[in-house]
Amino acid sequence: MSEYLVLIYEDEAAMGAADEATFTKIMDGHNEFGERNAAALRGGNALHPSSSATSLRRDATGKLVVTDGAFAETKEALGGYYLIEAADLDEAIALAAQVPALFGGVEVRPIRVFD
């Protein structure tokens, strides 16, 4: 068994413009996903929008620079994640495919184990 991070990326503008019914549908989708795959889930959370993000970098002198916003400017922003356990990538993909991501998609990344 291996662990994977399922990262949910979404177009925030489109998401923000969604109506109440759509929002409920998404929440129901996440609840269903969680219930159906409880055995495989090791964690997961929704995130506040990228406008709530704070990024930290070091400048050339090594000084900490704190800025408003997400690390990278991309069309789709990270909106949430699940940490899952699966036998292999195919199983991880089958799980990740069930995650609601109406305004974007998901990325599946294997967790690195150091021994």
């Binding site: 291996s2 990538l89 599946v108 690195r112």
Partner: protein
């Protein structure tokens, strides 16, 4: 003897590699063990003679080496002790037919996993299934050996770190996964049939490998209509191989090829296969492409070609596979079925597709329609545009010839 080893290499490589990966669980180690098995054959067979079942001999030797390798690993590194014990039994693999089939299928599906980039899928398939050396694969795609070696290493790393499983996909995923495999084999074929770059029109080694792969798939998945359709397509298209260039190595169009020189046995085989592949409803894209190839193969002359039927097949193909290249090929067919004006009009409607913006065949098709309509200045620009995106010397020579033939 050398021929026997080369033969064993070509026909048994995939089988031996696939069976060995099952022991090692690691592609690199398996490759080494298989390489060693072939070296052993080179030194042993001249004295002991070629074994009755070379594949079984090579697999037994490779797996023994793999087991030795696993034993040498310290206990905590040994991840699959169960598999080592199971393979203590050195029984000839031939006996259980299903085991043979499964191993090569496992390997094919692993090499063509959608999590790998298309280039990686093609490189791995040629290396692991066809047994091409890294330098041979590099040459086939006109990249440096180090570039190809890096590509293969990255692909194998992706398989290991993401834990791409060494198994045949489950029933639900099988159709899309088989389709992915067929895309890879088809790409190997088309790259070999009309090389995108270089001095030669064809790369025979790639065509032959695609044929080998497709025949292997037909043995492993005899009921798959897509596999049958692709084999039909390759066989029918390759039937024209000796007529595609003239005595000076110049490009010959379908309208100029000597149909008496087409491989009739191959065409007969292709036609039989197409019938089988079309029994699946709805017809898949490879079956439809093969059906179009059949219409060309069976037309006694260029003039006798049933273009309306071809357009009808393209309509079905476009519905099954909405690709801009298919749409372009359909436009060309419309140009012959109805006329250059109609063909040009379809082409214009495709102009917006970004995939066609640097596709040399788009402009050469446009140029041909314009030329036939007497719009020579526009044809000239289109041929020039096409040349800009064409990197194959034989095709470039053809386009330049067309340019010089234009009046004014």
């Amino acid at each position: 003897m050398e021929a026997a080893i080369a033969d064993a290499h070509r026909h048994e490589w995939a089988f031996v590699v696939a069976a060995t990966i099952r022991v090692t669980g690691d592609i690199d180690v398996a490759e080494e063990c298989v390489q060693e098995a072939y070296s052993k054959a080179l030194s042993a067979w001249p004295t002991s003679g070629i074994p009755a079942k070379p594949g079984a001999w090579l697999t037994t030797v490779a797996r023994r080496k793999a087991i030795d390798h696993l034993r040498r690993l310290s206990t905590h590194q040994r991840i699959l002790p169960a598999i080592v014990d199971a393979n203590e039994d050195d029984s000839i693999p031939d006996v259980d037919g299903s085991l043979i089939g499964d191993d090569r299928l496992r390997l094919i599906f692993t090499c063509c996993h959608p999590a790998l980039s298309p280039e990686a899928q093609v490189a791995l398939t040629l290396r692991l299934l066809c047994g091409l050396s890294t330098s041979e694969v590099a040459r086939a795609f006109l990249v440096s050996e180090s570039t190809m070696a890096a590509r293969l290493t990255r692909a194998k790393k992706k398989i290991a770190t993401s834990h791409i499983p060494y198994q045949v996909p489950n029933a639900a995923d099988l159709p899309s996964r088989v389709d992915a495999v067929l895309s890879v084999v088809h790409l190997v074929f088309t790259t070999g049939h009309t090389a995108p770059t270089g001095a030669d029109l064809m790369r025979r080694d790639l065509v032959e490998r695609s044929l080998d792969l497709c025949r292997m798939l037909r043995v492993l998945l005899p009921d798959d209509a897509g596999v049958t359709g692709l084999l039909a397509l390759i066989v029918l298209t390759d039937a024209r191989r000796t007529t595609r260039t003239g005595p000076q190595g110049e490009l010959l169009l379908l309208s100029q090829q000597d149909r008496d020189q087409w491989d009739r046995a191959a065409i007969d085989e292709g036609v039989r296969l197409v019938r089988v592949s079309l029994s699946e409803r709805p017809a898949g894209r490879f079956a439809l492409m093969a059906a179009i190839a059949t219409l060309h193969a069976q037309a006694p002359t260029w003039e006798a070609t049933d273009w309306s039927e071809i357009v009808a097949l393209y309509d079905l193909l476009l519905a099954a596979w909405p690709s801009p290249v298919v749409a372009l090929n359909r436009a060309v067919a419309v140009g012959f079925a109805v006329g250059p004006e109609a063909g040009l009009s379809v082409l214009e409607s495709l102009r917006v597709d970004p995939h066609l913006s640097s596709y040399s065949y788009y402009e050469s098709a446009r140029a041909d329609f314009l030329r036939r309509l007497g719009r020579f200045d526009e044809a000239r620009s289109a041929y020039q545009e096409s040349l800009e995106h064409c990197a194959n010397d034989v095709e470039r020579a053809f386009l330049r010839e067309r340019l010089t033939e234009l009046p004014g």
